[in-house]
């Protein structure tokens, strides 16, 4: 499971960075979104990978080792919301540039 997740995060980050460096604003937005998926998975993985373990204590007895770490899940939620909002904001700016400069090149003009 670890290897699969690591490869997934790597592939998402790699494609994201490549797209981020492309000259079209739309590619930049998609690149940023891919990176944000990768980062969210990464935060999640930092709580150690567990399957079938609840994050909330069910009773006062039992060992903590039987539970998943709830903190990274809370962090991911926050990061998703913030990432979503900033990406939406970026899309608006992208549209404004398109309207003002008449091109979707990130520098506002074709080379």
């Amino acid at each position: 499971m670890e290897a699969l997740l690591a490869i997934g995060i790597g592939a998402l980050t790699g494609s994201g960075v490549w797209l981020l460096l492309r000259p079209r604003t739309y590619q930049v937005v998609i690149g940023l979104s891919l990176i944000s998926y990768a980062v969210n998975l990464f935060i999640f993985a930092m709580g150690r990978l567990r399957s079938g373990a609840p994050p909330i204590l069910a009773s006062s007895t039992g060992r903590l080792a039987d539970y998943a770490d709830p903190l990274p899940q809370a962090l991911v939620l926050t990061a998703i919301v913030i990432g979503f909002a900033t990406t939406a904001l970026f899309l608006v700016v992208l549209l404004a540039t398109r309207g003002l400069t008449g091109t979707d090149h990130v520098d506002g003009r074709e080379r």
Binding site: L32, T86, T87, T97, L100, T101
Partner: protein, 539 residues
């Protein structure tokens, strides 16, 4: 500070946040009302900042447990000398920029006042928080507001520069998240004080991972601070932004510096075992490179906006290099320099707009954007204040003041700041005395003096061109409310010089407490919840 005054600690965040939300309720046509609300909120925040500064100077640290959870489990707000200093500095700069904007700029686009207050809330929160992830949240609040503000006034130039600014800072935010989660994965905590306690006890196998996390986190702050290979976005975004926005952005770069100043001695100070001093070499080298780059840029700048943003890079670089030297004496001087240079560059960005108003048709562009936005642009401007007599003389005097401050010449505070840093470099207080002045010390000294010379050359060249040899002597139309904030900022630097003794003592005590963080860690982790100790009483 007990009873209800305890809650003053969270007021610098809640007050601007609430008034930012309140301002959204009012229609854009009620500019006067919005201006009044924004001004009251900003001045109140400034006042609270000054109260907290005096509290931090006199007595202990303030720890505010959010939700009354004890320290490593809940999020804490921590007030110590450094954060109080940043709060007061933010308040001063924000008040000046807001007053300046009331003359005309706040009408150049929608929601200026809301965004301004939210920016203030984000900056104050980033300065007060004692938790890494909470720091991320406040960073995002601050950045989201700044994305809006950088586009304020619209126009091709701003939107184009804003696109780069947003893309770079979004990428930096992802690096921030990766760094924070790596640190959490290794240590299992995000509380800064708890981190400082756990890092010395880390297993050797985990240490490399922690340092990688810290390095990635550091890059996010260095992007914000504008270190040399990471700071090119700054040179386009700041001159393109509206003048009051650029002035208040002078504090945004300093927030990156603030976090490094907070975390570097706390997490990787002398007590950190094998990780002690991690990253200092890089900060020093990067800082010196930034000073060198900024210096060349200052000399090469034609437009004044570029001159100011290169000066900002010089100031960032100087501070980064001073942190990299990792000496309490140098840091004390650097804190003084931080205050002085932030006030200077803020004033300089404001001044540039006034001077250039006579030079090129910038005012007309503003009128056009205001028109496109659908405002009645001319009529309220008359009501804002009288045109200023002897305009060129006053502007010239302010410009000369900025020049002296940037170059670090007496009698203003730029000189005191540089003198304090150089004195500390030549007479180190730490154990590394025997070896004589190391190469890093020489490089720092040389670049500090050379960058001052470059600033002097560049500002006097621009000054002669603008004030002594005007080709077409068009006197810019300037209002009292526009000159007053600039004069206030410059007078503050004068006051900083006159009161240099007490100010310097405050900075030195701040630096000493940064480099011996035992008390910070202890007071955060031992802060009692309110429910346990009766009425909220600080330790």
């Amino acid at each position: 500070m007990d009873g209800w005054t305890h809650h003053l600690l969270i007021a610098p965040i809640v007050l601007p946040l609430a008034s930012g939300a309140l301002l959204l309720m009012y229609d854009e046509r009620r500019q006067f009302l919005k201006g009044v609300i924004g001004l009251i909120s900003t001045l109140a925040t400034l006042y609270i900042g000054v109260v907290l500064l005096r509290f931090a100077d006199n007595s202990a640290m303030g720890v505010y447990l959010l939700g009354d959870w004890p320290a490593p489990f809940g999020i804490v707000l921590v007030l110590d000398r450094l954060s109080a200093l940043m709060l007061a500095l933010t308040g001063v700069l924000a008040a000046a920029a807001l007053v300046f904007s009331l003359a005309r700029w706040h009408k150049a686009g929608a929601h200026f006042h809301s965004l301004f207050q939210l920016l203030l809330a984000g900056v104050n929160g980033a300065v007060l928080t004692g938790d890494l992830f909470n720091l991320f949240v406040f960073f995002e609040v601050m950045l989201a507001a700044s994305y809006g503000l950088v586009l304020h006034g619209s126009g091709t130039q701003r939107v184009r520069a804003g696109l780069h600014y947003i893309a770079v800072n979004l990428a930096a935010s992802f690096l921030f998240l990766i760094g924070v989660s790596l640190i959490y994965g290794v240590t299992g905590t995000l509380n800064m004080a708890d981190l400082a306690r756990r890092i010395p006890a880390l297993a050797d196998g985990d240490r490399a991972l922690l340092e990688a996390g810290a390095a990635i986190l550091g890059i996010a702050f260095l992007v914000k601070a504008g270190m040399w290979p990471l700071g090119f976005w700054l040179l386009r975004a700041y001159p393109a932004a509206a003048a009051p926005v650029a002035a208040v952005f002078a504090i945004l770069s300093k927030i990156g510096i603030y976090v490094l100043l907070r975390l570097s001695p706390l997490l990787f100070g002398s007590q950190a075992g094998a990780s002690a001093g991690f990253g200092n070499g890089l900060l020093l080298a990067g800082g010196l490179a930034t000073v060198a780059y900024g210096m060349v840029g200052v000399l090469a700048s034609q437009a004044m906006g570029r001159l100011a943003s290169h000066s900002l890079m010089v100031s960032s670089g100087t501070l980064l290099a001073a942190i990299g030297l990792s000496d309490a004496g140098v840091t004390g001087g650097a804190l003084f320099y931080l205050v002085s240079s932030t006030l200077t560059i803020g004033a300089f960005f404001l001044l540039i707009e006034l001077v250039e108003r006579g030079q090129n048709p910038a005012a007309d562009i503003l009128a056009v954007t205001a028109e496109a936005f659908g405002e009645e642009e001319q009529e309220p401007e008359e009501a804002a204040g009288e045109a200023f007599p002897g305009t060129l003389g006053v502007l010239g005097a302010c410009f000369a003041g900025c020049g002296l401050l940037l170059a670090g010449l007496p009698p203003l505070s730029g000189f005191v700041a540089k003198l304090a840093m150089l004195t500390a470099v030549f007479a180190p207080a730490g154990p590394a005395v025997e070896a004589g002045l190391p190469l890093a010390g020489w490089a720092f000294t040389a670049l500090l003096i050379l960058s001052g010379l470059a600033a002097l050359l560049a500002t006097s060249r621009v000054g002669i061109r603008l004030f002594w040899a005007p080709i077409d002597a068009a006197v810019p139309r300037v209002l009292v409310v526009e000159v007053a904030p600039i004069a206030m900022l410059l007078l503050l630097t004068l006051a900083l010089t006159v009161e240099g003794g007490p100010a310097m003592r405050y900075m030195e005590r701040t630096a000493q407490s940064l480099y011996s963080p035992g008390r910070y860690v202890e007071s955060v982790l031992s802060a009692p919840p309110v429910s346990a100790s009766g009425v909220g009483e600080l330790p």
